[in-house]
Subunit: 509 residues, 2 copies
């Protein structure tokens, strides 16, 4: 595999960004009370068409709602009666959620850094003026604080977002088979993907604006049932393949600046690369890329095998294991399962590519051996569930990945997945990422009712909390959960790994 060539081909697949203009819909009040999600609601005050009538003075504040979450550049037109005796100075804050809009950036202290807050300050010496911010933001709300204004005051006569996506504005037509709730969920997932489809498929357009392997595989699923921009996923796959490290490990993330390079290495993500590749070939119907990158994908198993002892027990080989944002999670069993699933995937891909029977069998044998070893060491026959690690930890992650890897039989899996909510001691999921794999496990073992109920409960929960794109972090009942320090404004509220319910809804038999 030629890394440089992959980067070259990735570069050639740079998309044209489609743009469209969305005017502000409402001026809203940010109302704090115990009831709404994160204790802040955006309550419509008056339609944005009436903005020109609002004379603004120093100390004034306008909060705009664009009606849906968008990715793009804010454009404002400011006017005054005749001329101004002193400049207008505004502080601007773009926000995906009301809580983010209601917070003072100056109090942002922790986690990933205030750099991710979408802030700007503009000073205007002459009116009328039309300003397009230099920043591409992800926002539904825009907070405009008037820091300075002329004595004659001024007004915002136009406020809009020049929205952009490589997938265009239009979301797919709604699903005829589903009810209103499911249609809203499907739509929010499509919008999430659309907003992440920028110069390349990003994890989240607010944060990290990066190509992450774990996100890419999940958004590829949604893409297949919505925009079908397979070219953009070939671009993503080639970026990953072009940024392997000197050992051949596929990176978990690619950073594009100053030139594309791998920035994190996560073993479970590397193992999933094979699945991303197989599905891409199947979805797009073009298997050449699979042929080209088969060896690179297979190579990832080596990094897993480096952690196996002579009894095929897995020990942390160093580096980053993800599975979920959860510090206490024991990742042993899920990691072995991810490797089994990867080997099975590679065997399937090898079959499609007409590789030798020996190659296919060797992969299947690996999967079988690891499956057998894990079952022996970790299956709890009393519970009918997998335990993980020395401390025999019980977790959702183990049952989910045990299902996908076939370590649990379909019957065992259905019972285990259905039984988890009744086991409060089992380490639960922290992110929609692991929740996606819960859905995937349901589908794999035929637990369609559980799958549907989970979508209604979990993703439907975000909708009921006001979401129109799905969130990076969502723990039911915990409004202020964040995996990063203690300020939930760190979280991305439009995140690719959360976008997948539509995939399951649209591929239901």
């Amino acid at each position: 595999m030629d890394k440089g060539n992959n980067l070259l081909l990735a570069g050639k697949l740079a998309p044209e960004l489609k743009k469209w203009t969305v005017p502000a819909k409402d001026v809203v009040d940010l109302v704090k009370s115990p009831k709404p999600w994160q204790q802040v609601a955006a309550v419509p005050a008056f339609p944005a068409e009436k903005l020109p009538d609002q004379l603004l003075a120093r100390g004034g504040r306008i909060v705009l709602d664009f009606g849906e979450t968008l990715v793009g550049k804010v454009r404002l037109r400011l006017e005054c009666l005749r001329s101004i005796d002193s400049p207008v100075k505004l502080k601007l804050l773009g926000a995906e959620l009301p809580y983010e809009a209601a917070g003072d950036p100056e109090t942002f202290e922790s986690g990933l850094g205030r750099g991710w807050l979408q802030e700007d300050m503009i000073t205007v010496c002459e009116l009328p003026v039309e300003i397009e911010l230099p920043y591409r933001w992800s926002l539904r709300y825009l907070v405009v604080d008037v820091i300075a204004a002329p004595r004659t005051r001024f007004s915002i006569t136009r406020a809009e977002v020049i929205a952009q996506s490589s997938a265009g504005q239009e979301l797919p037509a709604p699903l005829p088979r589903w009810d209103r709730e499911m249609r809203l969920i499907d739509e929010a997932g499509s919008r999430t993907l659309r907003n992440c489809m920028q110069n390349f498929p990003e994890d989240g357009p607010k944060r990290d604006r990066r190509l992450w392997l774990g996100d890419l595989r999940l958004q590829a699923l949604v893409n297949h049932v919505t925009f079908r921009r397979y070219d953009q996923f070939e671009r993503g796959i080639r970026f990953l393949a072009g940024c392997t490290d000197e050992r051949g490990m596929i990176p978990a993330a690619v950073m594009m600046s100053p030139e594309p390079h791998g920035s994190s290495f996560i073993l479970d993500y590397s193992l999933i690369f094979s699945r991303l590749l197989l599905e891409h070939c199947r979805f797009s119907g073009s298997w050449e890329l699979g042929d080209e990158l088969f060896e690179a994908a297979e190579k990832q198993l080596d990094f897993f095998r480096a952690g196996l002892d002579e009894n095929l027990g897995f020990h942390h080989p160093g580096g980053w294991l993800f599975i979920d944002h959860c510090q206490e999670l024991d990742r042993t069993a899920p990691m072995v399962c991810a490797a089994i699933w990867s080997a099975e995937t590679l065997a399937e891909l090898a079959g499609q590519l007409n590789k030798s029977v020996g190659k296919i069998d060797s992969l299947k044998q690996k999967a079988d051996a690891w499956r057998k070893a894990l079952r022996t060491s970790s299956f709890d026959p009393e519970l009918g569930m997998l335990r993980s690690g020395y401390e025999r930890q019980l977790s959702w992650a183990s049952q989910i990945w045990g299902t996908l890897a076939g370590v649990l039989s379909p019957e065992e899996a259905r019972a285990a997945l259905a039984g988890l909510p009744k086991m409060p001691d089992a380490i639960g999921p922290q992110t929609p990422y692991l929740m996606h794999y819960f859905l995937e496990a349901c589908r794999a073992c035929g637990a369609e009712e559980l799958l549907e109920n989970t979508i209604r409960r979990y993703w439907g929960g975000m909708i009921r909390h006001g979401a129109d794109t799905f969130w990076e972090a969502y723990k039911e009942g915990d409004d202020f959960y964040t995996p990063y320090g203690d300020d939930p404004r760190n979280n991305s509220a439009c995140h690719a790994w959360s976008a997948t319910p539509g995939y399951f809804l649209r591929t239901r038999d």
Copy 2:
């Protein structure tokens, strides 16, 4: 006079702005102590060439000194070792003086408004990057506060100002006849004018960035002995003539947006228009403009005469009288003197334009009559000085303008001007604007030594306090004086009306 035609011709004289690049000279510490002007000194810490070695983290601060006050756009290059895990966010503050640099914009509460503070916030998601701010600032210092930074930190590898002026970068060669102190004063005046010469001659490039008649006349004097860009002063004069009000009054200021229009009307400024016109014709050698605008200039006397009673006593006719930023100043006597001076000027212009003897005599007669009436009502023979108004107020302004108007004889004037500093009860000057007229009065009555000493003391004082351009507001011994509320950060530190000592130095016989 055709207003529209004047605006048309003013528009055609739009200058090409010459640009040049000035790299930061030093990184400085802002050191507070009782000794320096406004109790803050900018003390060099290390040369700016060493900036790339400084790794910056959140909470860091860099203060740059560009070595001289400049007008232009800041350009920064930011780099890091390889890539960044989170964005860089900077707050930027451009400042003309160390005190302005040392202050927190958030504490700016009063006066003309925080809109005039030169602030920006930038957020950068990818490094390396080169940023040119969208704002034209007037600055010598740039304060860079690091609000957010990646864990790997970053550095500023280049910092420069793309400076601009319609007069170009070069200041005139130093004066051979004068010593180092006077050369520095002359240079600071030239730099002040250069920095004010933008799309049109501005009063101050930080504030108000406006065409003010009072400033224009004074900067025209300096222009004559430095850049000789008479086209730009014709442009200014035509803007003023194109923005008279419906009565024919010349405005004190022109605002350019949304289209040129008069924004303030000040009687003493309107009266000075004649002087601006005469001097422009004389300096440029082209008298056509004088011919074209003679009547418009003469018309201004009508607005003065509206305030005269049957005994030629002057009463405030309403509107704004300036003379100086000084609330307690009685403007009666100075206003009459300004009118006398204007009438004399018009008589002189009429002579140059070969107007009728009747016209010339009529103007001279007006001047004589007003002079005589004022002398009768206001001259205090005991002091040998003019008093002003009902309360017979004693002020510098009355003696200065009384000298220019010939209400005081040259001998009386020399004695009066020399005697003022010994009269603490006399209302003193508050701005370099009135101090300019003190110099002009000295020149008019032949008090050259007093003129020279005043320049050394007053303008030299600014130099000794660290100025390299002259200030809008300067009261000796009062570091925090401002005519606007109580925050001296309102003040402009590069102001046309303060730029004139070089005119006197370069026209000394």
